[in-house]
Structures are given as structure tokens and as C-alpha cells.
Symmetry: C2
Subunit: 344 residues, 2 copies
């Protein structure tokens, strides 16, 4: 990726991430005095993160002609909801770490963490209510409908992933996987920010289907790259326990590839290993699965898939954003497909 484009992505993420962080602070401040709750609501948001979703939302709105401020509340709401998802996901996956620190339920127990996740979800509705003053009732209501759809998709995607693990399903296909990722990751990470951005840019005539296709391809590439990093990334930068996905029995594209390409005996062993409780999959078991994935080309397969998806996303970008004039914000979004492949 050319240095100039990588620098643009970093600059926009820094700039819009800072704006989103200030907005998040305002909403957390209002809840700060809630006894036994306020400080815990602030924990995950204060751990940092790239604010990719907020930045994409603001950039899409500006690319379609909205003033900077118009999309900030929607972006803040999305980041708060993202943090709510992270808290609940970490409980559901029994993850140990989040952003280099112990997960919230590890620090405070499942009951408190569950309630903090609920609190963050409730908090995320505040900026959508305040959108009425900024955007007027018609657009604010439109954004809220989009948020509702997005939250439904997310919960439905999470249900698929949880069911596969709960039932120890080893028949999951890559088609199943992409349906799950569309719902669980893409809708709130990429599709919703683009659709809402376009809506706030007052371009209601633009087909939303283009954003679904672009967002799906971009989000799927993002998720697969994330799963590759979970297996082989740099712990200091990745911020979660490496190999955690294998411990959790998560149906990644790599695991699905391995389950379909390993010989029957190995496949049975894998099935039995995945049936064990999480704690029984220790370092040795994780290393064994990693070795199998390398030998069977599962990691290469996933990297190739991410590459192809990113390439297709770059193509779909031209269709989805064809009515947006050239701008820094448009350039930022255009650079994202290749940028996500190179983050490590």
C-alpha cells in the first residue's frame, strides 16, 4: 500500500477518533455519578481502540456533503454500542483479555459485566435521541430505524456463531460463515456507518444496496484479517490472548477450512477436542491446531480470501460512492480495503 494512502488513513482515524472520543466522554460524564455503574461504563471505552466505525460513519457523511458535526452523534452512539457488544461478547466467549487488559467479567464477575453491557447499550440510545435536535425528526428517525435493523442483524449473527459452538457443529461451511459474518460483523462495522453517513448527507436517492455489497466485502475482509491476527499477530498490538479463538472453539474461516480438508482421523480428533470445555484446550492443543492449519494451508486460504474480498470491496466502492465527489473523506474510505489487509 502506498505510504501516502496509509498516512491518510492514519490521519483520518486519529482526527475522527479524537472527535468521537470527546463525544463518548460527554455521554459517559452524564452517567458518571451512577453509583457502582458510572466508572465501569467508562472502562472499555477508555482502553482506546481505532474508532474505525465512528470514522467511517463521519467520513461517509462528509463524502456525501454533510457538515462534520452532523454525523458525530450517530458515530458516538455506534462506538458506545460497539463497546456494549464487546462486553457481552467477552462474557459469551469467556475471553480473558480485551485491549491488553483483563476482560470486564474477569475483573468484576459475569453479573456486573452483563449489566454494564446493558448500561452501555442504553447509553448508546442517548445520542440517537439527541440527533433530533441536530438533524431534525425525519432524518433522526431514519437513522434510528437503521440502528434498529443493525442491532437485529448483530444479535442474529451472534446467535449463529454461539449455536455452532454450543452444538459443536463441525459441518459449518464457508457459505454459513459468510452469512454469519455479514450479520455479526459487517452490518455494524461497515454497512451501517456507510448507510447512515449517506442518509445524513441527505442523499436519500442513493441505492442502499451498494453499501450492503461494499460493506459486506470490506467487513468480511476485516473479520478474516482479525482472525488471522488472533492466531499469528503481535499480542502487544492485537490486545487479546493469541490463539484465543482456538481455545474458544470459534468457527473461523481457518477452522472451517481445516475441518473440511483434514483426513477423517484428524477431523475426528478435532471434533473431540472442540467438544471439551474451553479450559481443557491449553497451549499444547492450540499449538497442535495451529500446526495443522499451517500444514493444510488454512491460514494461507484465509489470507487469500481476505485479499480477494478486499479487492472486490475496492471495486464495489466505485459503485457505492460513485455520486460522491472526490474528497479527502472519499479517499479515506477508498483506501480502507487495502489498509485493513496491512494492519498487523
Amino acid at each position: 500500500m502506498p505510504t501516502r494512502e496509509a498516512a491518510l488513513v492514519r490521519a483520518v482515524l486519529d482526527e475522527y477518533g479524537e472527535i468521537a472520543s470527546r463525544g463518548i466522554e460527554q455521554y459517559l460524564d452524564r452517567a458518571r455519578n451512577a453509583e457502582h455503574l458510572g466508572p465501569l461504563l467508562a472502562d472499555y471505552p477508555s482502553r482506546g481502540g481505532r474508532s474505525l466505525r465512528a470514522s467511517l460513519c463521519i467520513a461517509a457523511a462528509r463524502a456525501f456533503g454533510a457538515p462534520l458535526n452532523d454525523a458525530v452523534k450517530s458515530a458516538v452512539s455506534l462506538e458506545l454500542l460497539h463497546n456494549a457488544f464487546l462486553v457481552h461478547d467477552d462474557i459469551e466467549d469467556d475471553s480473558e483479555e480485551r485491549r491488553r487488559l483483563p476482560a470486564l467479567h474477569v475483573l468484576h464477575g459475569v453479573p456486573t459485566a452483563l449489566n454494564v453491557g446493558d448500561g452501555l447499550a442504553v447509553l448508546s440510545l442517548g445520542p440517537l435521541i439527541d440527533n433530533h435536535a441536530t438533524l431534525g425528526p425525519r432524518v433522526a428517525h431514519g437513522v434510528f430505524r437503521e440502528a434498529h435493523r443493525m442491532a437485529q442483524e448483530s444479535v442474529e449473527g451472534q446467535a449463529l456463531e454461539l449455536a455452532w459452538r454450543h452444538k459443536n457443529d463441525v459441518q459449518v461451511t464457508s457459505e454459513d460463515y459468510f452469512r454469519m459474518v455479514l450479520k455479526k460483523t459487517c452490518w455494524y462495522t461497515t454497512i451501517y456507518p456507510c448507510r447512515v453517513g449517506a442518509m445524513i448527507g441527505h442523499r436519500r436517492d442513493i441505492s442502499h444496496e451498494g453499501f450492503v455489497r461494499f460493506g459486506f466485502l470490506l467487513g468480511a475482509a476485516f473479520q478474516i484479517q482479525d482472525d488471522v491476527l488472533n492466531l499469528a499477530g503481535d499480542h502487544g498490538r492485537y490486545g487479546k490472548e493469541l490463539g484465543g479463538d482456538i481455545r474458544e472453539g470459534k468457527r473461523t474461516l481457518m477452522l472451517i477450512h481445516l475441518l473440511h480438508s483434514a483426513p477423517p482421523a484428524v477431523r475426528s480428533e478435532l471434533h473431540a477436542l472442540l467438544a471439551l470445555p474451553r479450559r481443557r484446550r491449553g497451549d499444547d492443543e492450540v499449538a497442535w491446531v495451529q500446526g495443522l492449519m499451517r500444514r493444510h494451508g488454512s491460514i494461507e486460504h484465509a489470507k487469500n480470501a481476505a485479499n480477494q474480498l478486499a479487492g472486490a470491496a475496492a471495486f464495489e466502492f466505485g459503485i457505492a460512492f460513485r455520486e460522491a465527489p472526490r474528497s479527502r473523506d472519499r479517499d479515506f474510505i477508498e483506501a480502507l480495503p487495502h489498509w485493513i489487509l496491512e494492519r498487523a
Copy 2:
């Protein structure tokens, strides 16, 4: 309680409960096809229940002059959110039963149940969106703001109760208790239905403070009566494991009274018992605490408190509903304070 008033309460609960159930069905139907999720969303709502909250919401709206249909969507939303709370509460309290059947996380595990609770919360937003078509944007937005406030209060109240248990706090006072109940129980059970009902009845000139006072007194009497039933009710009608509150270490008014009236040695024993993990408080320990509560008059104390609160609620009813002309709906709400004392 005169038979005529008890019959009225039962008749209205049956009638409005049936209307709310049909509405809930419609929203569940839309989600029915969501794989691994749809049927689970329908589980708790299909287990029955009195629909007290939905009925109060519809009755308050009609008492202030709204047509029947105007409040139904808000009532449906509230019942769906109530079911979301129940699913998450049961995880947080590690409850074994709900409405005479195993709790959802007992049936499907914590991760799936947590996500189903999230799904029900998302589903509860649907009727509030659809309120726009029924009530127009101004009133619909007002109802949504009320819902947001109510959800915040609920999460804050839950945080108090969870923190007391998590820290094994034995200093909790009855004042603390009432603050917690105001937030956790009253706001969504009684205050919100009345406020929203009045708002939908297009009586924006009516002070909302009256509903906070009436709803607080009614809701607190309701919660205390519920806690008494948990200790000494009829399992078949109560629908949860009896004595479960003691097992869970829940800070009920009875436990708080006992902790403040028992001699120091007993108090220390109680403290140690409450510090144990839930599974270590078996039938013998529950019976011991129940015996102490009886001997120290804690159960009588709670029953007296519920009586006094219900009496005060009856007084505040006259103020909060003074501008509502005499009607069947007004009579229903007026009869609630005494009715809740007599349900067993």
C-alpha cells in the same frame, strides 16, 4: 378487598393482557425465522404472566382519554423489555426457575441466554418505532425519551443490587433499599406505564411528579410483597424456587431488617453465610435464615411496610389521577394498591 374490585382487576388484567399478548406475538412472528434465535425469543413471553405493566400502561392512557389502540404498542414494547430484563436477571442472580420452568440459561447456557436477552431488548424497540405511525412523531419521540430514562433507571438500580451482593455488603439500610427499588422495580413497573399513559392521553399539562410518587409507593409495595411470596408463597403460583432470594443473597427488606436486628454473633454468622458461593446455601441454611426472620419479626416488618406503602399509594393515586374522570380504567388503577397485597 371487596370482591367487586378484585373481580375488576382480574377482568382488566385478562382483557389487556390478551391484547398485549397478541401484540407481542406479532413482533415475535417477525423474528421467528431468525435461525437459532427466533424460537428462543418466544420462550419467556410464552410462559404467561400477568401483564401488569402492559395493563397499567393501557389503562392509564385510556383513563386520560386515549383510544384503546394508542397505548398498545408502548405496552407491547414494555412487556418485551420486561422479558429481556427477566432473562438477564436470571443469569445475574443464577436463578434456577422462571414461571415454573427452568430459567433460560439453565436450558441453553449463559452465552445463548445472554444473547436472547439482548435480542428481546432489540425487539422491544420495534413497537416504539412503529409508534410514529400511530401517535405521530412528537408523542412517539416523547414516549421514546421516557423509555430511555426508564431503561437507565433500571440498569442503575440493578447495579446497586448487584454491587451489594458482590461486595457482600451487610450495612445496606432500608433507605438504600428503597432507592434501589425505586430505580430497579418501580420505574419500569409502575412509574413509566403511568407517565407514558398520561402522555399518550395527550395530557402533557399533567405534572409527572405525581406519577413518580404514586408509582414509587405502588411499585415498592409490589416488590416487597413479591419478596415475601418468594419466602413463603405457593410455588405453583409463584413460579420460582421458594427461598431463592436467600440462596442468592438478595438484599430484601426482610434480610436488611434481620441484619439490623439480630445480635452481633448471629449477624456475624449471617455475614459468613452470605459470603459463601450460592451453591453452599442449601435447604438447611435457607430454613435457618427463614427461622431467624420469623423470630426477629422481619417478615411481619416487611408485610407492614408493604401495607403502609399501599395505603400511601392509594392516597397519592387521588393526586396523580385527579384530572382523570371516573372510568373503569381509573377504577382499575385505583384498586391496584390493595390488590397487590392480596395476590398470593
